[in-house]
């Protein structure tokens, strides 16, 4: 019976944990972390179970309160959503496992509140993925956003201002989205995604639907941080506590991207947004601009977290480009990159957090070859993730780029192909800059140096980093299995185009 209720159990589990943590926290402060970790572990296992179940027996539809849609709210656990839930919950599990030490160090005394809000954040993310109802999606967007504002706001001195800017921009985005689904609702009389997918083709000519589409794309584009709506992202990720940025950076924007895929492909329909309107082209163009812009600004940064934040802007561009290509290879590229980038960015942000925990800074110019001796494993994981970001085979990052490149070729979009290729080189510039500093003795450094002892981070922090880094190799080599599965996630009729 559990599998029938799985779509509801996963978000509710997190919601329950976020309530229970502060209640028990009054009684015992150090209970927060175990409860959070246990919840994350349980839902990771549940989502793995659900994923396998969906593969074996097909999608699960859950009707809240037993009300049949379109009257009731529907939760959909299909190939796409079960996959994204799995990715999000596993990455979250590793980041939460990692965050014990950094939170102790950066947020002393605030553990109870921190983990409670983290659980709320994950409630929002999981709900956004699973829900099959447009307004419900809005509510979950706001739940996750409110939690992110809080998680970012507790960072360094500049963090509240960054969080406030994010709050203003994020609320505009959510309001745009709300306005957009208002248009859809008053035109069609339904908020159920499946229902709309069937109704909308009959009213394609209506300008109201076009306005709704644009409002929704802009609204979700802000959540996803597609260029030029990425303004909130760099400051937020830079000033947030390292455990928060390690949690939000890999999965926050991905969930936005997922919502974009869900809305465009499964509500408006491929034909509508890519053939009848050129919205897909616009998304692809803006994403490409974001890829180049983000990569160049990443090169200009001298602080590691900020560099990674700009790199995120670029990488989100890959997903956006895949969505905008609107062909099977583009879809594969987008979904695969959603997974790969979640792993890569989680690894990279956790490495940055570890360096901050140990060294008290993450200023790239202060990196030197003692880091290699002090943190050999951390740096090895960083190298793997960095090479994957550059897109070197057989690491995971190569394959998402490969499919995106095939997608651009399929559409004969040579400019986008060039963007993908050039950005690989730009990625190489900002990652090899760090690798060079870490693995090579600076030629200007004095010859005599005191012996550096190994000073590796604690096992609880190192283990998640290593697992994700090894995961990048495994995902790269086994990517075909995933790709074969992604074919099942595509909307009907995608091949006939």
């Amino acid at each position: 019976m559990i599998e029938k209720n799985l779509p509801a159990i996963i978000p509710l589990l997190f919601l329950f944990a976020s309530l229970i943590i502060p209640l028990l926290g009054v009684w015992k402060k150090n209970l927060a972390y175990p409860i959070a970790a246990l919840t994350a572990l349980t839902s990771a296992i549940l989502s793995l179970y659900g994923f396998v179940f969906v593969i074996l027996t097909g999608p699960i539809n859950y009707y809240f309160g037993g009300w049949i849609p379109p009257v009731g709210i529907e939760y959909v656990y299909d190939h796409l959503s079960s996959f994204v839930v799995l990715v999000i919950n596993f990455v979250a599990l590793f980041v939460i496992a990692y965050s014990y030490q950094p939170v102790e160090k950066e947020l002393p005394g605030k553990q109870t509140a921190y983990y409670s809000v983290v659980m709320l954040l994950l409630t929002g993310f999981n709900g956004m993925i699973i829900t099959g109802d447009l307004f419900n999606l809005y509510v979950f967007i706001e739940i996750s956003s409110l939690a992110s504002y809080a998680l970012i706001g507790v960072g360094d001195k500049k963090a509240p201002f960054a969080a406030f800017k994010y709050l203003i921009i994020g609320t505009i985005g959510a309001s745009f989205y709300l306005l957009g689904i208002g248009y859809l609702y008053f035109m069609s009389g339904t908020l159920n995604m499946n229902d709309l997918y069937n109704i909308l083709p009959h009213m394609n000519d209506s300008p109201t639907i076009i306005v709704a589409l644009i409002l929704i794309v802009v609204g979700l584009g802000i959540k996803m941080a597609i260029f030029p709506m990425h303004g909130w992202l760099p400051d937020s990720y830079t000033h947030a506590p390292s455990s928060s940025s390690a949690l939000i950076a890999p999965i926050g924007t991905k969930v936005g991207a997922y919502a974009m895929i869900r809305l465009l492909y499964f509500v408006f329909g491929l034909n509508y947004f890519s053939q009848e309107l050129a919205v897909s082209d616009l998304i692809a163009i803006f994403s490409s601009a974001g890829i180049i812009f983000g990569s160049i600004l990443a090169i200009a940064q001298k602080e590691m977290k900020r560099m990674l934040a700009y790199s995120s802007v670029a990488q989100i561009g890959y997903i956006g480009l895949g969505i905008g290509l609107a062909n099977p290879f583009g879809f594969i590229g987008a979904v695969l990159h959603l997974l790969n980038h979640a792993f890569m960015k989680a690894t990279l942000f956790m490495v940055a957090g570890s360096i901050i925990t140990k060294e008290g800074h993450s200023d790239i110019f202060k990196f030197d070859d003692t880091y290699r001796k002090k943190y050999p494993w951390t740096m090895a994981a960083f190298t793997v993730a960095a090479l994957s970001m550059v897109g070197l085979p057989p690491l995971a990052g190569f394959f998402s780029k490969w499919y995106l490149a095939l997608g651009t070729i399929e559409n004969s979009s040579w400019l986008f192909l060039a963007v993908i290729l050039i950005s690989s080189l730009l990625n190489a510039v900002y990652f090899f800059r760090i690798l060079e500093k870490v693995y090579m003795k600076s030629p200007d450094a004095s010859e005599v140096k005191e012996e550096v002892k190994r000073n590796e981070i604690q096992f609880s922090m190192l283990m998640p980093i290593l697992v994700l880094a090894i995961g990048l190799i495994v995902l790269g080599i086994l990517n075909f299995i995933i790709v074969e599965h992604i074919y099942k996630m595509m909307p009907e009729g995608m091949f006939s185009l």
Partner: protein
């Protein structure tokens, strides 16, 4: 020529993996240098034996195939040890044995730092090289090609001085750019043909493409593999990469890495486009023009270099283009000569680099102007150097003569008299830039050499062996490995459509 048949075998996979498996062992035993180097030698020997076991079947026209796993729709990560792959694999893995012994002598004689990283990277490089040799399709090729790029990087920057870092950056700039261009080319090929498998005679036979599209695609391929093959104007990373320790220059920058590029050129010409298509669209002329220019310019530039290794590097650039030139002729003898030159140039050039390294470790001299009279103290080394030099100039009985002979014949067959002219001119230029070195070493009076003798045995013995091999293969081209038979057989296979 019979149709190439295939059989399943895991040996190609083991041949690729053996040096990769040695990497953790090398790292674990970092505190015990003798054990660490023992792993390297063991891996090299095992690898060579594994490759050799594939040879008899290959001579009968059977290729060992191993499909690792499907990695993209319709594309497998697959190894296929066909004749050409084995040809290259024997050269690379065979010379790795000598280089390993030589490396031990070199890094210890020179007190190099970070020796563990050095030997580990070397082992990865060899895995990637054998992987390139045995790649059954373009995607597998790209994967190993990029692994080779990254694994060579730590070796290029090994000295960690400003020069090495600059060289490393230049190296990455060139090779990573080439890598992404190659990915684009592979993507386009997949789009047009729905396959990426290498197939003798080409895979474009059923595809109708405009001439412009074919030329653009070919140029992309050429840029992708041409960087490692040192085709001008994409060559300049190679002289810069001479900042690496000499064994690296010897094996990687004379054999493994650069020959991977050339190997890629041959694969692209013979197994992706195919001779028919090359001729139909005039692609062979483009390739010929690049190769011919590179041969002459590189030889001229070699004159200007006083640094011995840099002179050798420019010589390498020139000789790599011999191979490309031979391939571009699209005539039977030319193709055979080109492929033969992969093996002949390898033994000769590695000898020369070994000599340069021996001189550097022993006398700490890098420049040609400092080499006066050193033949008296290092007779074995300079003897080997002489053999290598005259071989590269194309004088019999060294093996360089054979490949050059076929290249010359091939030019005439193809009606490209200018090809023969280029070859003869380049032979003269080769003699022109090598003989002064020999003259200095033997006939000029040196100074400050009283306290020096011959280099370490670990270095002299490999030098002597590679030099002797150059002579032996010159006298008996089919000795041991049937290089000549293989080359003829590969050519027949590729040329069957013409």
């Amino acid at each position: 020529m019979e149709i190439i048949s295939t059989y399943n075998s895991t040996i190609p996979f083991y041949a690729v993996m053996v040096s990769l498996l040695a990497v953790p062992l090398i790292i674990i035993s970092r505190s015990n240098p003798n054990l660490r180097e023992g792993w390297t030698i063991l891996a090299a020997l095992v690898k060579f034996v594994l490759v050799l076991t594939l040879l008899p079947a290959a001579l009968e026209g059977k290729a060992a195939v191993f499909n690792i796993l499907e990695i993209a729709p319709g594309v497998e990560l697959a190894l296929k040890a066909d004749q050409f792959g084995i040809f290259f694999a024997i050269i690379a893995s065979g010379l790795w044995i000598f280089t390993s012994f030589y490396s031990i002598g070199y890094v210890r004689g020179n007190n190099e730092k970070k020796q563990t990283r050095y030997f580990a990277s070397f082992a990865v490089c060899l895995s990637a090289t054998i992987g390139i040799a045995f790649s059954a399709n373009l995607l597998t090729f790209i994967i190993f090609y990029e692994v080779l790029t990254i694994a060579t990087y730590p070796l290029v920057i090994h000295k960690e001085n400003k020069e090495a870092i600059a060289a490393g950056r230049k190296y990455l700039l060139y090779t990573l750019t080439a890598g992404v261009i190659l990915i684009a080319a592979a993507g386009l090929t997949y789009h047009y043909t729905n396959t990426l498998d290498f197939s003798a005679g080409g895979i474009f036979s059923d595809v109708n493409l405009s001439k412009d599209a074919v030329i653009v695609l070919f140029m992309l391929f050429l840029a992708g593999v041409g960087v490692k093959a040192g085709i001008m104007p994409l060559h300049s990373w190679l002289p810069a990469a001479m900042a690496a320790p000499t064994p690296v220059s010897a094996l990687l920058h004379a054999v493994a890495v650069v020959k991977s590029g050339v190997f890629g050129v041959v694969r692209v010409v013979g197994f992706v486009f195919g001779p028919e298509m090359m001729e139909q669209y005039g692609l062979n002329n483009i390739l010929f023009a690049f190769a011919g220019t590179t041969i002459i310019l590189a030889s001229l530039l070699a004159f200007k270099q006083d640094n011995l290794k840099r002179r050798l590097a420019y010589s390498t650039v020139g000789h790599l283009s011999y191979i490309v030139l031979g391939v571009s002729l699209l005539s039977t003898s030319g193709f055979t000569g080109g492929i033969m030159h992969i093996s002949t140039h390898a033994t000769m050039k590695i000898t020369l680099f070994f000599c340069a390294g021996a001189i550097y470790v022993n006398l700490h001299r890098e420049n040609i102007s400092q080499l006066d009279g050193i033949a008296k103290v290092m007779p074995w080394t300079m003897g080997a150097f002489t053999i290598g030099s005259i071989g590269l100039a194309g004088i019999p009985p060294i093996n360089g003569f054979i490949s050059k002979w076929f290249l010359g014949i091939g030019s005439l067959e193809a009606g490209m008299d200018i090809g023969l002219t280029i070859l003869l001119l380049s032979g003269l230029l080769n003699a022109g830039y090598f003989f002064p070195i020999i003259y200095r070493a033997y006939f000029k009076e040196g100074s400050g050499l009283e306290n020096y003798g011959e280099a370490n045995k670990l270095m002299v013995v490999p030098i002597t062996i590679t030099a002797v091999l150059s002579v032996l293969f010159g006298l008996f081209p089919d000795l041991f490995f049937n290089f000549f038979d293989l080359a003829v057989s590969i050519t027949t296979d590729v040329m069957k459509g013409l």
